[in-house]
């Protein structure tokens, strides 16, 4: 990422040393920058402060300290209505007493820039033209979220904020709206910040990823970097990794129960407490019948279907969790002896997250 000041001057957003308190909860200090055209996804569990951070950028919550610069303009103390931020909410927040057309035109009317052509064009772009006269209560979740997007974009904001906009939608609709958001945000010449607790959603939409925990920024970087090199066990678990139970890191090697040693991908350079992690989807399972060897052998202890995938736990000296396509493990039953294989280079060593 470019330097914060450069990013802000070029139409991006730069937040530096943001802090705020909310009762006993403390956020920050948070420093990050989002360049125009890029989407930063703020990822974290409930209560990590990601929505509060978004609200502070929108101007809903007074800061205790720090500075927000958007497009070269210091907006730290600017009232919300003058910040030029577009906001999409989880629960749509469409005005129930107005039609779709009136909802989309609300911002223009408030600014005395009533322009029916602009509203119609926005409705057309998002496939909403036929719904202009309808009230929000009569729309589906996907339609409501598209109206919310149109309403936010028609006033041409300088920053787009999205607060878990997909979480109220059913699975098929979520996928459609996610693709729409992905293409729309990519095409926007402004920075976007997208808040979610769903790592799949985060990876699908992010250019950059910021992981929050207990009001603090744990890791910030391009999405591939965060996925490949999680800063600690918290980020690793949140990004869907599993801890390699019983493994101990010795220098650049990994010591497994039973005396075997293997070389992990990134053991070098760790000085503090660390442990080994892997992605369950990297694990390959074989039925052991007729095969020799015993290092990762064990019985299937748990089988949890997850849609098209199935999560399988293999017992034994080194318990493993594997994520496999449902159809590929259809014949396996509980207790079946299997062998878990982790391809070379798939184990990562990460720092132990503080409690």
């Amino acid at each position: 990422m470019a330097l914060d000041a450069d990013v802000a001057a070029e139409g991006g957003l730069a937040a530096s040393e943001l802090t705020l308190t909310l009762g006993t909860f403390a956020l920050g200090p948070i420093s990050l920058a989002v360049a125009p055209g890029r989407t930063l996804v703020v990822l974290g569990p409930s209560g990590s402060g990601k929505t509060v951070f978004l609200e502070s950028l929108a101007g809903f919550r007074p800061l205790r300290g720090g500075r927000i610069v958007l497009g070269g303009r210091d907006i730290t103390g600017t009232p919300t209505e003058q910040r030029q931020v577009g906001l999409m909410f989880q629960d749509y927040a469409l005005f129930p007493h107005l039609t779709v057309h009136e909802n989309v035109g609300f911002g223009l009317r408030i600014r005395h820039q009533q322009d029916a052509g602009r509203i119609d064009a926005m409705l057309r772009d998002l496939g909403l033209s036929h719904l202009g006269g309808r009230r929000p209560a009569t729309l589906s979740g996907g339609e409501r979220q598209r109206v919310a997007l149109a309403r936010a974009l028609v006033v041409e904001p300088g920053l787009m904020l999205l607060d878990e906009p997909l979480s109220a939608l059913d699975a098929p609709t979520r996928e459609v709206v996610r693709d729409l958001l992905r293409s729309t945000l990519r095409a926007l010449p402004i920075p976007s910040i997208y808040v979610t607790h769903d790592q799949d959603e985060a990876v699908a939409l992010a250019d950059d990823l910021a992981v929050f925990r207990n009001g603090r920024l744990v890791q910030l970087g391009p999405v591939d970097e965060v996925v490949d090199r999680p800063a600690d066990t918290f980020v690793a678990r949140f990004m869907g990794m599993e801890l390699l139970v019983g493994a101990t890191v010795r220098g650049e090697r990994l010591l497994l129960p039973g005396g075997r040693e293997i070389a992990p991908l990134s053991a070098a350079g760790w000085s503090g407490p660390c442990c080994a992690c892997y992605r369950p989807e990297d694990v390959v399972l074989f039925p052991t019948k007729g095969l020799a060897g015993d290092l990762f052998d064990g019985p299937l202890e748990r089988i949890t279907p997850q849609g098209a995938l199935t999560r399988l736990t293999v017992g034994g000296p080194v318990p493993f969790t594997a994520l496999a396509f449902r159809r590929s493990v259809a014949g396996l039953a509980l207790g079946t002896p299997v062998r878990a294989l982790l391809p070379a280079g798939t184990i990562r060593v990460v720092a132990v997250a503080p409690d």
């Binding site: 929108a58 101007g59 809903f60 009232p79 919300t80 209505e81 910040r83 931020v85 577009g86 906001l87 909410f89 629960d91 927040a93 469409l94 005005f95 129930p96 007493h97 107005l98 009136e102 609300f106 911002g107 408030i110 600014r111 309403r151 936010a152 006033v155 904001p157 904020l161």
Partner: protein, 278 residues
Amino acid sequence: MYGAQARAVGMRYAPRQAFTVAMWLLGGLLVVFIILPMVRLAMATSVHGLAGAVRNPDVRASIQLSLQDALAAAAIATFCGVPLAWVLARKHFPGKGFVEGVVDLPLAVPHTVVGIALLFVFGRKGWVGAPAGHLGISFFGTQWGIIVGMMFVSAPFVVDTVRVAMEDVDPRLEQAARTLGASPWQTFRHVTLPLSTRGVLSGFVLAYARAISEFGAVVILAYFPLTAPVEVYDLYLQEGLDQSAAAAVLLLIVTLATFLVFRSLTAGGVGRWLSTRT
């Protein structure tokens, strides 16, 4: 076997039915308790008696006075009550519980006590009454006094009703409006108020109903000019129960009619129409 099952099911349902019947009976008792005196009052007069009351200029004047002063009191209470309701619905501040208690105080204080308290403030030598007197405004024995008495007892109805309505408006709608460029006033005008229109109208109607029926506070602060409840009381003292009944029935008809008209307007098209005018 099926018989035993049916009996078991029947035993499960029997207490439910008894519960429902008990609720109906107790609820019905309250309805009868309210309606019985009204029916008996209506029976105490005849069409001839009612016509006499309509012809009586004093009765007519008192009803007209009650109607206009109750409307004025409800309007002023709504004008100030809506902002207070917004503050209580949206803001957190030290002493909020105290303010909430103060708002509901008129509901708990006996209305004759209210009248005496108001007299100390709005009387000729009162904190407000004395300086207002220098400006030529008197509350004692005037329409202003009637409106003040009515407002005092009816204000809680506006504040409480509107507050509940505004608390029901999702604050995210207001936040959405702010991000779209609306100032706090524009957000209130175009989002909060239209979405709580029904609550505002209901509060106004309840305040009007409470104001027009007020006797205790008004009779002490402004016995004259006679409002309709005071006129009925005056007739009762001077001419007895039967003579006052006709005026009482007329007052009942007028207040009920106006109340029902207002209520149907707020529940129906007017509320809906107003809530879409942003």
